[in-house]
Amino acid sequence: MTTIQERVTTTAPVVTRKKRDWSVAVRVIVLLIASVFVLGPVLWTLSTSLRPPSESFQLPPAFLPLNPDLTSYEQVFKQLNIVALVVNSALVTGLIAVGQMLTAALAGYAFAHLKFRGRGALFSIVLATMMVPAQVTIVPVFMLIRGVGLSDTLLALIIPAIPTAFGTFLMRQYFMGLPGELAEAAAIDGASPWRTFRSVYAPLAMPGLAIVGILAFNFHWNEFFRPLIMTISEQNFTLPLGLVSLQGNLGTGSISVVLAGVVLSMIPALVVFMFGQRALQDGLTAGTGK
């Protein structure tokens, strides 16, 4: 009788009596096919954007951009005010990320290390707000923004997105991992509570803050629903909105131009993916009892 044939994780040394190499090979092939289906569309997008517009619908498709042709990228700058879109997206995303990091750090610290009445109840309320879908609150938020005269501005996108339940939760978890003795030591040295936070805890919480910032960046850079509602004039569009309207304007015309815009919009996300993938994965799965 054959017994132990496969190891399940890499870490533990399990004796493999009979190596079943073919089963590994089958798995690798299946996984490779899955990867082709996942990455293929993105490669096709990149490749098509780098080819002359006339070759956009060439079949069989080319997945490797062998002779890069940049006319589509020139066209994006001509047909679309892409500089303004990038500036808008960067402003909105950057200010939301910074705002979330600041407010979440403060609130997370208070929930973790400061004592006050109703702390538990208040934290439960903060957690509960995470369950309310944004689409349900969007109508009153829109009216509020309109009421204070901020409709069709970038601030209409930025301000409502700054208070973050998830970021507060993450930062509370992070601060709870730092010992309370630090505050006591700082107090003995004569530091005020604010200084204790500013000079002792906040610097130690930078990795947690980075996760909050990266998550905010990834979410709001790609956001479509709120900008679609909150902005009206094209000068206030963010990238996803501008690209969708470009596709609408062109119909099925210059595909490569639209795709060039899509590729340009992916660059910041790609940078985050390369340098902050771990933080992003940790943040996305935080609080799921992983």
Binding site: M143, P193, V244
Partner: protein, 321 residues
């Protein structure tokens, strides 16, 4: 600014605190007052922001559902009329039905794919390959759903799209993806699952990593191999992760908007219109803010009910170690 914080014990007993205050030549009341409002200063931005942009809108949304309001003229109280109209509106009904079908199919596909791939990645594999597959499956999550839908629309083009070209290789005639109700629904589901299965995949990877190796060794000694091992060991031990993954997948799928909006605008006909799309359309295109709120309230209730039901079911089926 007060410097009277040098209590020996941090939180400080009353005598200790008074002593310290004396040393710094300040009254203890001031410090106590500061102690009391300090946490609220830290919390103020978040609490005020959430109050204004989440809690108030929730209350306003529920209230608004009982009014007729086009934002221009004064709102009029209509009781449950909005709910009655919404429930009878054929477009709304079709959209909710579409959403339910979408959720069932997309979530089943997403979880199945994610679980299968996670098991394959977690088993014996060279480390660099594991890193590559993890990154590859995670990658679509960093893209914007709008951008993804833009390029997928070209890939699913009936005459020139790559998808139909691939199908033609295996002898399947061109599928009218975006021009028929069934085809459009399939595209929305496929594009959504393509982008989102990586999230469930990550959760399953985490869950699988927490299953102790000894369990598999014991199972092997008892003679369990291959799929039996996964059926009798992996699935029960993974059930807490499966619960979390399915709750999150269902809640997210119920709110689908970007993909159908960019891919099909809800068409042809109403075939890919979703619940959130009708909220968007009745509020911002037809200016029926009361009706939009009523639909939103119904959607929220459905989400809450499903979440509660899943956690109740979990008490019976989820196996905690």
């Amino acid at each position: 600014m007060s410097t009277a914080t040098s209590t020996p014990t941090g939180t400080g007993s009353e005598p200790g605190r008074r002593q310290a205050a004396h040393k710094n030549g300040q009254g203890s009341t001031r410090r106590r007052v500061q102690q009391r409002w300090l946490p609220w200063a830290f919390l103020a931005p978040t609490i005020a922001g959430m109050g204004i942009f989440t809690l108030l809108p929730i209350v306003a949304s529920i209230a608004l559902a009982f009014f007729r309001w086009d934002i221009i003229s004064a709102p009029t109280f209509v009781g449950f009329d909005n709910f009655a109209e919404v429930v009878q509106d054929p477009t709304v009904r079709v959209s909710f039905l579409n959403t339910i079908v979408f959720v069932v199919v997309a979530v089943a596909l997403q979880l199945g794919l994610a679980l299968g791939l996670a098991i394959m990645v977690q088993e014996k594999l060279p480390a660099w390959l594991r890193v590559f597959f993890r990154s590859a499956f995670f990658f679509p999550l960093i893209l914007s759903a709008a951008s993804v839908s833009i390029f997928m629309r070209y890939l699913f083009n009936e005459q020139f799209g790559v998808v139909n070209w691939m199908l033609s290789i295996v002898g399947i005639p061109a599928v009218p993806w975006l021009t028929t109700p069934g085809g459009s629904a399939a595209v929305v589901i496929l594009v959504y699952v393509w982008q989102n299965f990586g999230f469930s995949f990550l959760l399953f990877i985490g869950g699988l990593a927490s299953i102790p190796v000894e369990t598999y060794e014991a199972a092997s000694i008892d003679g369990a191999t291959g799929w039996r091992k996964h059926w009798f060991v992996t699935l029960p031990l993974l059930s807490p992760t499966t619960l979390v993954a399915s709750v999150m997948a269902i809640i997210n799928a119920l709110q689908v908007f970007d993909q159908p909006y960019v891919l099909t605008r809800g068409g042809p006909g109403d075939s890919t219109r979703t619940a959130v799309m009708v909220i968007f359309e009745s509020a911002f295109q037809r200016l029926e803010f009361g009706q939009a709120s009523a639909i939103g309230v119904i959607l929220t209730l459905i989400i809450m009910a499903i979440t509660a039901a899943q956690f109740r079911l979990s008490k019976r089926f989820v196996f905690y170690q």
